[in-house]
């Protein structure tokens, strides 16, 4: 048996050599074909410089229309249907009427005419401020809590049932508790934002921590890194994408909730403004508010996407 294997060995050696030669031929072969292709391309370019320039502009125009046209058509369809729906009168104002109202409204967005009558700009800013404070505190509490929950299994076993119980509760159910504790409407609204935006941050951060690849943790163990180094060099960068997803979900929810919370608490804010305009029966202002809320939400989301892209590392 041993002898047989020995005898076959030089054969195996020869095989390796032939494979190598074949590999060499292949390489040169493909190189040659690449140069041929390049020459052809050059000829084509020389022959068609003029048409090329026009072609490029046309291509650019085509790409632009491909990217822009569908959304524009969609928007036009929406406005068209809206227009048709309002042809026979009824409570809903037509697109034209809404547009005129918007022009008036946005010509002076920052007027102050008493505590309950301020420009739409102030209302949006007031809402953003509440969201910012509530969301900021939620991030300060939720992200470290998420790290702790992810790192220590006991903690997550302890708190997961509570989180699962509280997470599906509508944020507005927390509003009375806020009113009771803070005695004022404004911090109660902020509290509602806090409580609704904390869960996605805790859960996503914790999930990120548990999903840090074992390889990286093995590296940490083999290199005998300190807890601080493990956190800054391995845990934090690995969890960052998950954390940013949590933050994005949170800020989306916060922006959803603020409108409802402000309707109930009053004061200055886009939610209260919607309710106030309903009481004034200025329906076109409500429609404008819907667009404004949507656009602000979109912008918040895009900003966070941008940040997420900035911090995401590429893994392969």
């Amino acid at each position: 048996m041993t002898a047989a294997v020995i005898a076959s060995r030089p054969g195996a050696g020869v095989e390796i050599e032939t494979v190598r030669v074949a590999g060499g031929r292949n390489e040169t072969g493909s190189e040659a074909s690449v140069t041929v292709v390049e020459q052809k391309v050059e000829k084509v370019e020389k022959a068609e410089v003029e048409t090329e320039r026009n072609g490029r502009f046309g291509e650019w125009l085509q790409a632009l229309s491909r990217a822009v046209l569908p959304p524009v058509i969609g928007l036009a369809l929406l406005i068209g249907i809206w227009h048709l729906a309002t042809l026979n009168g009824g409570g809903i104002p037509s697109p034209g009427k809404t547009w005129q109202a918007a022009v008036v409204l946005f010509s002076d967005p920052f007027y102050i005419d008493g505590p309950n009558d301020q420009g739409i700009g102030w209302n949006v800013l007031a809402s953003l401020e509440r969201v910012g404070i509530g969301f900021g505190i939620a991030a300060l509490v939720g992200i470290p809590a998420g790290f702790l929950l992810g790192r220590f299994a006991v903690l997550s076993q302890m708190l997961n049932p509570i989180i699962s119980l509280l997470r599906p509760v509508s944020p507005l159910a927390w509003l009375p508790i806020g009113l009771l504790v803070f005695q004022r409407a404004d911090p109660a609204a902020t509290w509602t934002i806090f409580i609704c935006s904390i869960w996605p941050m805790i859960l996503n951060t914790a999930q990120g921590v548990t999903r840090v690849p074992q390889d990286y943790l093995n590296v940490a163990r083999v290199l005998n890194l300190s807890e601080w180094k493990i956190f800054t060099k391995i845990l934090f960068p690995a969890v960052l994408p998950y954390m940013l997803t949590g933050i994005r979900l949170s800020i989306g929810t916060a922006w959803l909730v603020i409108v409802a919370a402000e309707m109930l608490t009053g004061g200055v804010g886009i939610g209260f403004w919607v309710w106030d305009e309903w009481n004034n029966l200025k329906v076109e202002h409500i429609i404008i508010a819907i667009f404004v809320i949507g656009i602000v939400g979109l912008v918040l989301e895009q900003i966070l996407m941008l940040i997420a892209r900035r911090f995401s590392y590429e893994t392969r």
């Binding site: 390889d215 093995n218 590296v219 163990r221 083999v222 290199l223 391995i234 960068p237 690995a238 590429e314």
Partner: protein, 264 residues
């Protein structure tokens, strides 16, 4: 006889699974001497990597004694550097920073930052990657990543280099290149090495002793083969070397005749 760096005495390792106790390794005896290169070979699932993890200190044996420099192996330590199969570089750090992380941990207590940086440069130079210092792992090829992994391990100036199928994920030509480079590095640094592999040629080419493991469960050392070929070794010359062929044949005999796996 040279000094023993690692002593493995009567070591066994078992894991608790849902189906009960699973014995991975039993009765393993092995001494690793200073400057020696050892290859661990066997069919997949035979516990090669388990044994390497035990030496690394990533897992603790359920029975027996493991010593490194006469002291019990209680956990991972910088004197036992590991090169992982899938390179395990941190994707958010450059090649330089990946190596620097290891250097900093081992030497920052005694040396200034300039010296630490110099050590990092030297380690990357040793594996021929000075030009890629500031690249991120996703910007370089698989072979280069594995070289950074080797540089990271070597930069700690370990007593012993533990490699878990370091070239398994690479194509044949890159693998041959890296094997040649590893031989040069081992010759230059006189490092001690234990390598897990399933490649018979790699085992013979790189090691002084080939440790063959029987099939799991309850795997143990079946045979130990001494490769008596002088260094530096030249892979082209060895293709026609009779002793190289004998060694290869003996390992193949062990793997494919004595320890043939039926349903693998």
């Amino acid at each position: 006889m040279t000094k023993k760096i690692v002593q493995i005495e009567n070591v066994g390792q078992s894991f608790d699974t849902k189906k009960g106790k699973f014995v991975a390794l039993r009765d393993v005896h092995l001494d690793i001497h200073e400057g020696e290169s050892i290859a661990l070979i066997g069919h997949s699932g035979c516990g090669k990597s388990t044994l390497l993890n035990l030496i690394a200190g990533l897992t603790r044996p359920t029975s027996g004694v493991m010593l490194c420099d006469g002291r019990e192996i209680a956990g991972p330590g910088p004197e036992r550097a590991v090169v992982f199969q899938n390179h395990s570089l941190l994707p958010w750090l450059t090649c330089f920073d990946n190596v620097f992380l290891a250097v900093e941990r081992v030497f920052s207590a005694k040396e200034g930052k300039a010296k630490l940086k110099q050590r990092t440069h030297e380690a990357l130079e040793l594996v021929g990657l000075t030009h890629a210092e500031n690249k991120y792992p996703h910007e370089i090829s698989g072979g280069m990543k594995q070289r950074v992994g080797i540089a990271r391990a070597l930069s700690m100036q370990p007593r012993i280099l533990l490699m878990d199928e370091p070239f398994g994920a690479l194509d044949a030509l890159t693998r041959a290149n890296l094997q040649d480079e590893l031989m040069k590095i081992l010759a230059a640094t006189k490092a001690t090495m234990v390598m897990v592999t399933h490649d018979v040629d790699e085992a013979v080419l790189l090691s002084d002793r080939v440790v063959m493991l029987t099939n799991g469960p309850a795997a143990t050392i079946g045979e130990i083969l001494e490769v008596k070929i002088d260094r530096p070794r030249d892979r082209l010359a060895l293709a026609h070397d009779a002793h190289f062929g004998d060694c290869r044949a003996a390992i193949m005999e062990f793997l494919y005749h004595k320890q043939l796996k039926r349903a693998a």
